[in-house]
Symmetry: C2
Subunit: 185 residues, 2 copies
């Protein structure tokens, strides 16, 4: 790439919205030969997703109402990394809070940028195994989550049929597929 053309310089920047849940920034930027343009940027903390397999070889799925698509979805556990928290600690915490299960082992599958065009954050995808039920769920005021421990074959069917359709969940499950297939056979 012509090095000149990626030298976007920020002329001005302001927050259109800034809350605990969403920060939307508007930046006016200029690059040589490109003129000046406004770009929206969504600032989010990093996120985590967890493919969690129980000591019984089942996958933990969660069912909840999602306000973006206004429908009940089937997803894997996940959430936001808290300030000062490591992504791995966040994955373990979200798994525990949303399902009551504690991971025996946990490893990173991959770190991806959620959407570098419009967002600032990464999502860290984990595989937790040997998960065991240790406590009741701890949900916040707007959460109502049903937990389902589901056989591996059924989970892969749900993935392929589009019943599990959240893009970040699909990526984590595709990356965990070799492990899941080995468990399910």
């Amino acid at each position: 790439m012509n090095e000149e053309r990626k030298n976007w310089r920020t002329l001005s920047s302001h927050y259109v919205v800034k809350t605990d849940f969403l920060s939307l920034r508007s930046d006016r930027r200029q690059a040589p030969g490109m003129g000046s343009h406004d770009f929206f940027v969504l600032e989010y903390p990093d996120w985590v997703n967890v493919v969690a397999v129980t000591t019984q070889g089942k996958v933990l799925l969660i069912r909840q109402f999602r306000h973006g698509m206004e429908e009940e979805t089937v997803e894997i556990p996940g959430g936001m990394v808290d300030p000062g928290e490591s992504p791995m600690a966040a994955a373990q915490r979200e798994l525990l809070e949303e399902t009551g299960y504690k991971a025996g082992k946990i490893r990173l599958l991959r770190r991806v940028s959620v959407n570098p065009a419009i967002q600032t954050n990464y999502c860290h995808l984990y595989l937790a195994t040997e998960c065991s039920y240790v406590q009741t769920q701890q949900l916040d005021g707007t959460e109502m989550i049903d937990v389902e421990d589901t056989g591996v074959q059924r989970v892969l069917q749900m993935l392929e049929a589009g019943e599990i359709h959240h893009s970040l969940n699909c990526l984590a499950l595709e990356m965990a597929r070799p492990v899941l297939v080995a468990l399910g056979s």
Copy 2:
């Protein structure tokens, strides 16, 4: 799930931002036993991404500056579905505009929701094969895209090393992996 608890009723709704590039809605919603809460919803048109393989067996990657993460990224071609356009037509159009290549064959790998918690849209992931160069790029005023036709082995390395890190790109490439591996061997 308790059926009652997913009966979120919208009490009020307004647009915080409504432009050609971004529509941010704020909905105040109430559910039995949950009280009333404000939810932000990002309305977007559907998106498309294309894993494109040339007649020479190379994968088309694009390099561009991305304003969300403020860095140059390596991605696969993609973009927004225009009003009245089919996702497949959008995939073919975006491939042509961004790279100048026309797909010989194209098929849907999977349709996923981008993020059902906060967004309204789907992303349609395609695999285009037998792509041939037919015209020069057609870019809009803020786009400056370098196209690279890259060997399959190198693309898979870039994916695994996190050099290609856009989550939707990673999912499309993981889904196309069996085809890519077959091509690369």
